[in-house]
């Protein structure tokens, strides 16, 4: 089918490629962890975005790195790597967490799922096998890379539960937020976690790569009259900003990717102070540095910025234009000013269709990160730098009542 030399240059395909490729009409492909994945299934992303917020959007998230951590010391290893208290996890519970180097700077973030007493699944954005192995010295634990042999789908949106209830053997009504349970879907064994990257009601479905296509087909069939839409990662990118969720190497630089110390971020700076459990016993990676930062306070904080629409209109009106807002999330650094002094920067900004607001994830220096602070964000209007006023807000921007219900 493919010539060997060609395949050398080919990106990895996810287990759903056969289904998603014919649907990807504009050939809008994106690269994700070495895989070719759908950016959008249409020329615009409105339909996919609104499926997330109003119906059900089916997203192929197979490129996530997945590891199985098993053995008597499995909990001990994850408790050492992450700042959360893994020993307190119930079976079937999912933790979201970042993890740090020993200087307390974020290396990556992902989820830990307790599959059993001595068995966990870890997801990450970056390859983590070496880090896991380095931290497992002296422990009785086995670490298995499952990235390629497992496929993953994210079904997000207010109708996602109804869709799954229709195609799963066990109903999803009792599955609580950030819990996981085994199930059968389309005749295949899967595990379903109530998690996602959109801030909406949503689930992630984990399965053997070999079961990928039947599971996709079953969900699509079940969702047909619930308005299910295959969704690319561009629409998800808008939704995740609304949900106040950040992305590695966009909103923070992984400590092992940073060229200089100033590029690194701590969990406290990224608003993940709630994941840092300094009271848990024993050593964990970064403890010393995190204790110090907790004591002395952080220099930075990730917060939200809502740009005033009137201010935008005014700036554009100066050149005779209505506000020009890009149709996707913009991953570019924009200076944030206060009293003409730079006090931080935005790392991702987007138009929020549901809030009807221009919003940004911004990193502000102390003390400018307090909610209510008035700042200005740099925008480029007809090739000229302008500043649009806005207000610092707590994250998330958008949280529907059904997210955790």
């Amino acid at each position: 089918m493919n010539d060997a030399p060609y395949s050398l240059y080919r990106l990895k395909r996810t287990p759903f490629h056969e289904r998603v490729a014919p649907l990807c009409l504009p050939q809008n492909w994106r690269r994700w962890a070495g895989c070719i994945t759908v950016g959008s299934y249409d020329l615009g992303i409105d339909r996919e975005y609104w499926a997330i917020r109003d119906a059900a959007a089916l997203i192929d998230v197979s490129p996530l790195m997945k590891y199985l951590v098993e053995g008597p010391d499995a909990a001990r290893l994850l408790d050492r790597i992450t700042p959360r208290n893994i020993h307190k996890m119930a079976i079937g519970q999912v933790f979201y967490t970042g993890w740090c180097d020993d200087d307390g700077k974020l290396l990556d973030d992902g989820t830990v799922t307790r599959l059993g007493e001595r068995s966990f699944r870890l997801t990450s954005a970056e390859p983590s096998l070496r880090w896991l192995a380095m931290n497992a010295v002296g422990m009785d634990v086995t670490i298995t890379e499952a990235t390629d042999r497992m496929a993953a789908l994210s079904l997000q949106g207010p109708k996602s539960r109804a869709v799954l209830n229709r195609c799963c053997e066990d109903g999803l009504d009792t599955l609580r937020f950030f819990r996981m349970a085994p199930n059968r879907l389309g005749g295949r064994s899967v595990t379903i976690s109530r998690t996602g990257y959109t801030g909406d009601l949503g689930y992630e479905i984990w399965m053997d790569a070999a079961d990928a296509l039947p599971v996709w087909d079953a969900i699509m069939a079940a969702g047909a009259d619930h308005g299910i839409v295959p969704c690319g990662i561009l629409a998800m990118d808008m939704a995740r900003v609304e949900a106040g969720l950040f992305m590695i190497d966009v909103d923070y630089t992984a400590a092992n990717h940073a060229w200089i110390a100033g590029q690194k971020s701590s969990p406290y700076e990224m608003g993940l102070g709630w994941t840092v459990n300094l009271d848990k016993p024993g050593y964990f990676v970064g403890r010393r540095a995190l204790e110090r930062e907790h004591r002395e306070g952080s220099a930075w904080r990730l917060v939200g910025l809502e740009v005033d629409w009137e201010g935008l209109e005014r700036v554009y009106a100066e050149v005779g234009l209505p506000p020009q807002i890009p149709g996707t999330a913009v991953r570019g650094s924009l200076p944030v000013m206060r009293d003409r002094q730079q006090v931080g920067y935005a790392s991702t900004s987007t138009w929020s269709p549901i809030l009807k607001k221009y919003i940004a994830l911004v990193h502000l220096e102390r003390p400018h990160f307090e909610p209510g602070t008035r700042v200005e964000i740099e925008i480029t209007v007809e090739h000229h730098r302008r500043y649009a006023p806005g207000t610092v807000v707590a994250l998330p921007f958008y949280e529907p009542e059904w997210k955790k219900k």
């Binding site: 050492r80 020993d102 380095m134 931290n135 010295v137 002296g138 422990m139 024993g282 050593y283 990676v285």
Partner: protein, 508 residues
Amino acid sequence: MANPDIIVIGAGHNGLVAATYLARAGRKVLVLERREVPGGQLAGDARIGAFATRPIHAGGQLRADIVRDLGLANHGLASEASADAGAYLAPLPDGRMLRLAASTDAATLDSIRALSPRDAERWPEFVRFMNSAAAYLEAGQATPMPRLANADLLEQGRPLAALAWKLRRLGRTDMFRFMRVLTMSAVEFAEEWFESEPLRAAIGAVAIHGVSIGSMSAGGGYVLIHNWLNRGGLAHRGTRGGAQDMVNALVAALRARGGELRTSAPVAQVLVERQVVRGVRLESGEEILAGTVLSDADPRRTLLGLVGAPELPPEFVWQAQSIKMRGSVAKVHVLTDGQHGIPGGTVVIAPTTKYLERAYDAAKYGQVSEHPYLELTHSGDVVSIHYQFAPYSLRGGDWQAMRATLERRAIATVSERFAGFRDSIREVRSITPFDLEQTWALTEGDLNHGQLILDQLLFMRPIPGWSDHRTPVDGLYLCGSGVHGGGGVSGVSGRNAARRVLRVSARG
């Protein structure tokens, strides 16, 4: 002892030196030794054989300032090296003997002149340079090394500047010679000085002694200076009364200052809570708490064994795993009827520099040298053979199976030079690298707690950035041979560690 201020793990000579310095400063010190006897490598083991309770080292002396500071002369230690140290002797192919003293006595010059008049002329200058280089190294070992990325120039800058000034004061010629010799191989260094092959080989042997490098490996020059410093020349020079006197004096000095020594008290675990040391747990289950713990065990054993990797930062664990131990020395003790025919002093079997390199070649491939480099010493009927190379990791075999081969090759190699040796043998007992690990708790049988190679010296010993005896665990210090100043018998790392601890506590 209830509630000691400080626990020292291991009663090797460095542990005892550190403990006695600390006791002298008024601390309540408890030394815990896993074996029945104190002394570490200076104490033999009765299980190896009734006669073979000899120390691993043929000689050894504590630095003069340590003997003085701890008042060891009052506890039975002769303050000077024994007078009958003997010479450094190399049998020549024609049956004669090359006889070298670390001085310029007539016998030495005559012996060299028989091989090369030119070499005899150069010998006095060589001895002068080596003594000067050794004295400089001694000053370097007494100087705290900077912590690389975390260097505290306010604290460490002055001693380092003083050390740099001392280097300059060696004079232009010696300064450059010294800097060059550190990285040179034994062969390169010896060839630069001398033309006679037996002389080059005899010197080259000391430049690889105890370390897993060959005569053509970089860094032999450093080892030569290091060993010259510890020996006081080429020949071993024990303290009068031998190793046991040294151990007895240290133990007596410790006790005289209120320190306590417990033998047969193996530590199973260093207790750590949130990167702060709390004390130790013995194998018996007994817990002893203390705010400061020094470990005389090697760094790998201390950090990955007694503390445990789970309590340490991952990058540090990676580095601790990467410390090169690689022991490749075995000892063969031979009980004879006294008619062994081996002269007193230190006898080296290393006919050529290529012979040394070939002996090392075997070790590279996990084999025991068929024609080993040997160093022989004897006291009365017992001949002790230092056998190099006998690598810890054997390819396709284990040390129980190789023991007989080791002993046979040692005896054959000695018998070739000393005809009466074989018939004089009554009993043979050997110590393999495996025994060194099992009985003396030396990881991979490394006598020096980590190879004395260039990337593991000075500010890089035991781990770059951690040369100042500290560890990522507050209150836990390393005082054994594996830290800066260590390698061989000198007490330097024990002394330095105690100073470090006292300096930290002085700061509050």
